[in-house]
Symmetry: C2
Subunit: 342 residues, 2 copies
DNA sequence: TTGTAAGCGTTATCAT
DNA sequence: ATGATAACGCTTACAA
């Protein structure tokens, strides 16, 4: 007669009773089958099958102090940008029966802090972040954290946590150099419609190249609500006859802005790249199908997720030797995809 | 001297010791503060703050047999289709400190079954699925499950679990009727590039309308790898001079296919809608920015997520009265958005 | 309002 | 190779 009601699911002891073995043998059957003799393995397997037993991972985590959850904070779950990374990380972890816990920050450090705090209660095996810019509160929590923290996308080898990413400044330099070499004279940078620190770093790289070549920088920040509308707004504003900020090439903070610009140009009769060149960032799904097709820079989104997954598995799943092998920082490169628009 | 090493984080007992109260008081402080006197509340709060205590949710779940995780299986995490639902569900749950656990099925029932089995170990408070078509194995697990199961997107009131969705057949009927009423004669349905049962149901609705009006159905299944390429392929094939299956209106299984068609039409010099009308499904981000803008049907993606979240919270967070109030099934409607392409 | 004792389902530890 | 026992960190049940 139980004194308390539990989950009402079969437990390890139920399996053990039916199989005629002890509970720990069933535990070993799941965690290290090699330790169990062939005969008992069959007995346990039959019992598991018979009652449809599924191990309670919460209890296992509590007992072993080793969880198989990895928590990740992304700016938003629904956007196209981090989708590849999320998917690759989730798939890589799933292969080793790790689960991915997701939360969105909406580009807000406060939301990120809230999410990290909430995650802590799950004792995740590792924490994956998509930015290196955190609130002081978040930094304090990360400092105390025993588990590995992996910062992705933004790369800064000076920071202590594990890094998997690329240099946004380099992206800015690559794009600006490309546009300069194509002969464009008045190259503008169009910011995102929401505060976006990574985009600001791409802008810094762009500004470096402009300065090095004695060019003037032109910056524009759309006020529209969505990136697509913002891109359209920027295109019209920066190509207007007689505008003080008239440009012959637009480097957009991301492809969605650039999409908006290309589509608005079609409607407005602005010719790309003859009247104005358009360059994006992200290489989103339809960049190559647009008319004209979009020149852009493709970040290694999937690779970031895969490598992050590998790091997690080596750090928390592997042995000490593997642990040594994990590099502190992995700097990936982006690919410049030159198409018709610039 | 501890006999085993735990998580190395402060525990409830650490807080209790510092605050000079018992452990259960600290527990109540977090779960039902009203039960704790104001003075002790202050003591506990101070102690919590001092050592940065975060409750171990795994231990709490184990003890209470009440988890605050909701598991969801989507076809893919990175696609645009379910993004709104995932986001709305995640946000709705986060507000009550529930966590969302995600896995992808890639439209495969085997993967779905694997994901559901893996989820069971987490004793989720509820299970959210994005389809009503499951493998026998999955059905068997769902039958045994004590927790609520919510099927979303596909609506079938005949099924036992909770339903939040819309009728894909109705979508097919609406689109077909729209095209018929616009005067198109030869209306074709273009299938998805992967097996997609929901899309098949939209096709069924389309076929019903065609039959009712004595029209011939034309179906096309692209062989391209991606939806955008498949849409382009379909457009070229179904508008080719002298083709047996030549059509004057194309109803695509989704907007990505339709995007591909519109972009390919621009390049091929096919005029939309003069030469051929294009109709999609999904109302993805750029449907209204395309040239021509895309006529399509917008599913209530966010509403599905919000309502699913509400159901979960009422069922597992609320009292018995709220439980009664949850309707078995919620049938939502889609909005037909008539733009330039059809 | 507060506390004590027992138990949630699993694994670490030690013994055989 | 297998098992008995205690412990993981928390909450329920009951008592005061």
């Amino acid at each position: 007669m139980r004194k308390r009601k539990g989950s009402e699911r079969p437990t390890l002891f139920d399996v053990a009773r039916i199989a005629g073995v002890s509970a720990i043998t069933v535990s070993r059957f799941f965690n290290d089958p090699a330790l169990v003799s062939t005969e008992r393995r069959a007995l346990v397997a039959a019992a598991v099958e018979k009652i449809g037993y599924v191990p309670n991972l919460m209890a296992g985590t509590l007992a072993s102090a080793q969880s198989r959850v990895v928590a990740m904070v992304v700016p938003n779950i629904s956007g196209p940008i981090f989708a590849g990374t999320m998917q690759a990380l989730s798939d890589g972890l799933a292969r080793e029966n790790f689960q991915l816990l997701l939360a969105s920050s909406y580009f807000s450090q406060d939301n990120e802090e809230r999410a990290v705090r909430a995650f802590l209660g799950w004792s995740p095996a590792a924490l994956v972040l998509t930015s290196r810019f955190h609130s002081p509160g978040t930094e304090a929590m990360l400092d105390k954290l025993a588990q590995p923290v992996i910062e992705t996308w933004d790369f800064d080898p000076a920071r202590r946590p594990l890094q998997v990413g690329f240099s946004h400044e380099q992206v800015g330099r690559d794009a600006a150099t490309h546009l300069v070499e194509r002969g464009y004279e008045r190259i503008a940078f169009v910011h995102n419609v929401v505060p976006d620190l990574s985009a600001r770093h791409r802008c810094t790289g762009y500004a470096q190249v402009m300065a090095a070549r004695g060019r003037k920088t032109i910056e524009y920040t759309p006020t529209a609500a969505t990136p697509v509308d913002g891109g359209a707004q920027a295109l019209l504003a920066l190509t207007a006859q007689g505008s003080r900020r008239r440009a012959d090439a637009l480097f957009f903070a991301n492809d969605n802005l650039a999409f908006g610009a290309v589509l608005a140009a079609q409607r407005a009769g602005v010719r790309i790249p003859q009247d104005v060149a358009v360059f994006g960032f992200g290489d989103y799904a339809m960049a190559d199908k647009l008319m004209p097709s979009l020149s852009t820079i493709r970040p290694p989104a999937q690779a970031i997720g895969e490598i992050a997954a590998r790091h997690v598995l080596q750090l928390v799943g592997g042995d000490a030797a593997a642990r040594e092998a994990v590099p502190h920082a992995t700097l990936l490169t982006c690919e410049l995809v030159a198409r018709e628009s610039a």
